[in-house]
Amino acid sequence: MRDRLTRLLGTALVAGGLALGAGAARAETSLEFYYPVAVGGPITKIVDGMVADFEKGHPDIKVKPIYAGSYQDTITKVLTAIKGGDVPQLSVILSVDMFTLIDEDAIVPYESLVKTEADKAWLKGFYPAFMENSQTGGKTWGIPFQRSTVVMYWNKEAFKEAGLDPETPPQTWDELVAFGKKLTKKDASGNVTRWGVQIPSSGFPYWLFQALTTQNDVRLMNGDGTETHFDDPKVVEALQYWVDLSRKWQIHAPGIVEWGTTPKDFFEGKTAIMWTTTGNLTNVRKNAPFPFGVAMLPEHARRGTPTGGGNFYIFKKSTPEQKAAALTFIEWMTSPERAAQWGIETGYVAVSPAAWETPEMKAYVKDFPPAAVARDQLQYAFAELSTHDNQRVTKALNDGLQAALTGAKTPAEAMKDSQAEAKRILRAYQ
């Protein structure tokens, strides 16, 4: 304790000495900030640049950004640090890891940190769809930062070729099937050379599936993360539709479709429509050798998409000064101008309505209207699947989805099994 006091005093003296010219003495707070990189491009340089800008305006706070790898790497690093080691003060981690971090007693709710009216207003300034994954039990645990949703990309050339209006994407499930039938192309020997639509199903099929369930107006879990509804008839119906795309209508490649190769399939003209993250916008813009369009996903009972991506979390082990400084930093990083800059440079969806009102963002949207599709779709978005013991519950659903898509089980059987497994896992949390 005395040690820390001396050090604090020392720091204060040094800082005071430095600030003597300005005539103000203040202590410097230093923060470590972990962030993952999940999209291509020079993300580390962008983050370093933003941190440098922040420090210019806040000479009393030092931020050390640490590139931690993938999302998985980042949470691993944080959880390890918590069990003994240098814990950072803040980090960007998947929004769906909220319950895991709460269960590990690792993070603090933002309500315990916000003080001023301005703080409170800031906390209310984000899109509600992003806040669904950031709040539970009436408290806010994460602040949206690099967030995404699912959108539909279509190949205008293929539409023209199939005799469809290249400017009109399918608006409903039925239209998707009707368009898909026209878009699916076969060669002389009956082999398909182009599919109508592609919804990737490797790795994390639950995320794409959630677009379908949301459109069918059903939620996959409750807000406390203790209960799932995988065997709800509406969920089964959504899965039946996905399975039918290839089984019944034959407009979608059979089996499991790889997430990683889906954009390439689209560029190669192997599918006329693809569903994938908004984060792919820059990639598609750069690599698609044909004119393309971006649209909201088609509707059924309603429109819908899940949200995805990472939130800011503040860790419990920090000192009160660090927590306050971390809050200042996060407020700055998510301010309208910064959120707009981040969205433009990375392809993530800017997280607050105010960000879309900035002159930079308006100019960007004017130049490239597809960028606004994700924003317009947000009003229909639901929270991404997130529960306690999240990865395991997610695997239960993924396994069921893949079983149905590969034809090993009927949709009803598959969802019944997934629900039973999820129920078993979640028993400990009820």
């Binding site: 082999n191 490797s202 490649a253 089996g255 790889e258 399939d265 893949q402």
Partner: protein, 311 residues
């Protein structure tokens, strides 16, 4: 086999006052020489093997809840876990599929490269190169080969009028695809051991057989193959261990999917321990892996024993 070939240096010497001294104080010196290696081996091989068992009897600590003794609960959960059984089954299929294929190909490669074939230097290079490439890197390339429609395999298939096939995306082919990658990666490695063994077989044997007019197949079956038996055994044991040890390609190519069709035991352990953070259950699964490896060791020991007596 070098064990028996090596000059037997431990025979009692007629004149060994120095040797006796070595044996006398050798106790302490020997132990001291061993100590550093022994400490590390104990810490990272023997201790963890024992600790795995102990931790499999406890629950996983989470947040503020510490671990507590649960007896055989974890094992009970394992028996009821369909994914565990699936991964065990997959691993068995994977081992039975890759090992004979890799060994047979390795033998054929070694015979070719050892023979009078044209450009054998280049061939040997081609066969062996996969061994020095990291699995993680080549898995990404194989991912392209397997891509439906415009992937390399389907492009070749199109030439013969075949349609697109979703190799990694269907339950029936995904595991086989991984097995092909494994065979491709390992055959060249095993070839080297056969090559080494072949070069130790006296050329006289071949000449004698040629004079007696023995056919090549006959010669291979009756002379070469039996002489290669110890190498085959060595390669076999290595192949079995590798079948349970290498899951890098699973991480890149399928992540265990579709619907657990390519879930191998070690990959499942990795998922449970480092994605679900259920270390106690991870330890329980590791016990199964250890039991399998112990069985292999025992089998090898018994077989070697028999073979030595036979000789």
């Amino acid at each position: 086999m070098a064990e028996s070939l090596a000059p037997s240096v431990d025979r009692p010497s007629t004149r060994r006052p120095a040797g006796r001294a070595a044996a006398g104080q050798g106790g302490l010196a020997g132990w001291l020489l061993l100590l550093p290696a022994a400490v590390l081996l104990a810490a990272f091989t023997h201790y963890p093997a024992v600790a795995t068992f102990l931790h499999s009897l406890y629950s996983t600590p989470r947040g503020s809840r510490p671990a507590h003794f649960v007896g055989l609960d974890n094992y009970q959960a394992m028996i009821q876990d369909p994914v565990f059984w699936q991964s065990l089954w997959n691993n068995a299929v994977y081992a039975l599929g890759t090992i004979p294929a890799a060994i047979a190909l390795a033998l054929v490669m070694a015979l070719w490269v050892n023979g009078r074939i044209r450009g054998r230097g280049l061939l040997r290079l081609a066969y062996f190169t996969p061994t020095v490439l990291p699995m993680i890197a080549v898995a990404n390339i194989w991912l392209f080969f397997y891509t439906p429609d415009y992937g390399l395999i389907d492009q070749v298939g199109h030439l013969f009028g075949a349609g697109a096939h979703n190799w990694l995306g269907s339950r029936s082919t995904a595991l086989a695809c991984l097995m092909v990658v494994t065979v491709w990666k390992e055959a060249g490695f095993f070839m080297i051991f056969y090559l080494a063994a072949l070069q130790q077989i006296a050329p006289v044997l071949g000449e004698a057989a040629a004079i007696e007019g023995a056919g090549r197949w006959y010669f291979f079956r009756r002379v070469t193959f039996p002489l290669l038996m110890p190498t085959t055994l060595f390669v076999l044991v290595n192949a079995v261990i590798n079948a349970f040890r290498v899951v890098d390609h699973v991480v890149v190519m399928t992540r265990g999917g579709p619907d657990n069709a390519t879930e191998l035991l070690l990959f499942y352990i990795y998922e449970v321990a480092f994605k679900f953070w259920d270390t106690a259950y991870g330890a329980t699964l590791t016990m199964v892996l250890l039991a399998i490896l112990a069985a292999v060791a025992l089998g090898q020991f018994l077989y070697f024993d028999k073979r030595v007596h036979y000789r």
